[in-house]
């Protein structure tokens, strides 16, 4: 992970804004895709088991159809599955620039698991479509792929959830500590439920021959798939709000804001739309209802990514301000460096001293008048024979004159003190 840290450029606020937008966008594409991949793989393997007694029956056909629902094809898996994960890891590294946080390294561990999951599942699909003579191997490959995906995604989602929980960062030392929290578990369940929900509505949208569904033949395969898709969607759509509220309840207070709750109720409204659409499918057997259910569920994914975005914004408020300040400091240093090329070194010290004086001292001190502290024209000359004493005082001020409030300690660096002292002495000599 060291190499990542070294290769990351210091972000500017505009840069960070763009990255956050990009993050929302890629996760919005990534989550529904992964949901369909995982959901359809699980359903397909279950159907393989159910249909193992009767090859060529409804169940085996359903298993085959489902294995084709998500393209685990190389390009889809690469661009929708792997690339967004890598991008998300890089973005989180940028957002946490110089924070010393290592928790999100676990996102990287998720990658090989997900990759292995995709490989297993693509073999599973190939074996399914060429009617392999070895069903045992095929099922094991399917199960293995699912286990890899579940494990990889648990790590990935756990790091995403821990992202909004800075309080726990210093204490997470191994993957078990990363995963074991109600917040992570609620997030994982939320993802699994939405995965099966969107798989169900994906069946309604992509796998059905609606002409066959609407024209009565009662035992047709399409009719079976319709009831399966509708039932699956309805069941998980009903479960989703429960998990969602669970997730909200376990989210750290420091990440909550009013928008989260408004977005959540919007998500529940979308789930209501999806639920009614599925009911419409069962009742009237018409395709538009299936399309509506699918769109509503995709929008639910969008709201969940938005919730994620807002919680992150709130949790990282202070860190963002620090990053912004760092960026400004860099810009200033860059400018000074530019100017410095022309200026003489001695003058530069003076410029720095004057700037520091303006920033820090001038609020309380003037050379001629009493402000909060005494006029410097009166007090600095006392130190003319004891410059070290003046430096020591600036490093750790003590109360000298009972008529004035105590001067605060300003946490100055040695060289800053030097610059200020040089400036003070220079000014005092000028004024004499």
């Amino acid at each position: 992970m060291e190499f990542l840290e070294q290769n990351i450029i210091p972000p500017t606020p505009e840069h960070l804004g763009l990255l956050k937008f990009l993050r929302v966008l890629i996760l919005f594409i990534h989550f529904p895709y992964m949901g369909i991949v995982l959901g359809s793989a699980v359903c397909s393997v279950v159907f393989v088991f159910l249909g193992s007694g009767a090859p060529g029956g409804t169940y085996s056909r359903a298993a085959k159809d489902l294995s084709l629902l998500a393209g685990y094809g190389r390009s889809a898996a690469f661009f929708l599955g792997i690339v967004p994960m890598v991008t998300s890891i890089l973005i989180s590294r940028q957002l946490l620039y110089q924070s010393g946080v290592t928790v999100l390294h676990y996102q990287l561990y998720a990658l090989p698991f997900v990759l292995a999951g995709f490989v297993c599942l693509s073999f599973y699909r190939v074996k399914g479509s060429c009617n392999s003579e070895d069903p045992g191997l095929r099922t094991s490959l399917g199960i293995l792929g699912i286990i890899f995906l579940l494990a990889g995604y648990l790590l990935f989602l756990a790091s995403l959830s821990r992202f909004i929980d800075p309080e726990k960062w210093p204490f997470i030392d191994n993957p078990a500590e990363l995963v074991l929290s109600w917040h992570v578990i609620a997030r994982y369940k939320l993802f699994l439920a939405s995965a099966f929900g969107i798989t169900g509505s994906g069946v309604l949208l992509f796998l059905l021959d609606w002409r066959e569904v609407s024209n009565e033949p009662v035992d047709s395969h399409s009719r079976f798939m319709m009831f399966f898709g509708a039932g699956l969607t309805l069941f998980f759509v009903m479960l989703l709000p429960l998990f969602w509220l669970w997730y909200l309840a376990t989210s750290p207070d420091a990440s909550l804001s009013y928008e989260i709750f408004i977005l959540s109720s919007a998500a529940f409204f979308l789930l209501l739309v999806a639920g009614l659409a599925v009911y419409g499918v069962i009742k009237s057997r018409r395709q538009p209802y299936g399309v509506l259910a699918f769109i509503a569920l995709v929008m639910v994914f969008l709201t969940s990514v938005m919730v994620d975005h807002y919680t992150l914004e709130t949790a990282m408020t202070e860190h963002s301000i620090i990053l912004k300040a760092m960026a400004e400091e860099r810009a200033e240093a860059h400018e000074l460096e530019h100017e410095g090329e022309e200026a003489v070194v001695g003058e530069k010290v003076e410029v720095k001293g004057a700037a520091l004086f303006e920033d820090l001292c001038s609020m309380c001190h003037s050379f001629t008048e009493e402000v909060v502290g005494p006029p410097l024209g009166d007090v600095v000359p006392k130190y003319l024979s004891d410059i070290e004493g003046l430096k020591a005082f600036l490093k750790q001020p003590t109360k000298k004159d009972p008529d004035y409030p105590e001067m605060p300690e300003l946490g100055l660096e040695e060289e800053e003190i030097e610059a200020i002292v040089d400036y003070l002495l220079h000014e005092i000599k000028e004024k004499r």
């Binding site: 509220l245 009013y258 709750f261 529940f268 409204f269 009614l276 949790a315 609020m363």
Partner: protein
């Protein structure tokens, strides 16, 4: 037949309840958990990040006592008698000073079961725990917010990781 007609209503009702619960949670959050407004919009960012004051310049008792202490109005006035006197928030401060009244700050960091917990700042400062460990980056906050839960599990995790005592009686006297 009637039951079949009722199904869409049942679905609507089911999700309607969740929508209501989410909105109620939001309202509850706004009422009780949102960062409180303060009588004077004091900015830690200006005082710490810009001017460079150290925490203990105002919170005098952090290394000496159970509580860190809120500065007296007099402390604020020692500088603000002369600085930024034209700003509306400083004028508010002057009013408190003239009326000789304390500023009714709203507490942000409160232990939930404080009746049963003994916590002292002094010990933690002596053990060189940074202020930011428990209070977050207050130095860049305009309005202070609570960024740590201050709950027992969190206290114990930190005690464990720093090999500080985890005996019950350490905190529950």
């Amino acid at each position: 037949m009637l039951v079949k007609k009722l199904i869409p209503f049942a679905i609507t009702l089911y999700f309607g309840i969740f929508i209501a619960v989410a909105l109620a949670m939001g309202y509850n959050w706004k009422l009780y958990k949102q960062t409180p407004e303060q009588p004077i919009a004091f900015s830690h960012r200006i005082h710490v990040s810009q001017i460079g004051l150290q925490c203990d310049f105002c919170h005098r008792y952090a290394d000496k006592s159970v509580t860190a202490g809120v500065p007296s109005v007099q402390k604020c006035m020692s500088c603000h008698e002369a600085i930024a006197t034209e700003r509306p928030e400083i004028k508010k401060l002057h009013r408190y000073w003239q009326d000789q009244e304390p500023i009714p700050w709203n507490r942000v960091h409160r232990l939930r079961e404080r009746k049963y917990v003994y916590f002292t700042h002094k010990r933690h400062i002596k053990a060189q725990v940074e202020c930011t460990t428990c209070h977050g980056e207050v130095g860049v906050m305009d309005r202070v917010r609570k960024v740590r839960s201050l709950e027992m599990g969190w206290c114990v995790t930190c005690h464990r990781s720093k090999s500080a005592p985890t005996d019950c009686l350490i905190c529950h006297k």
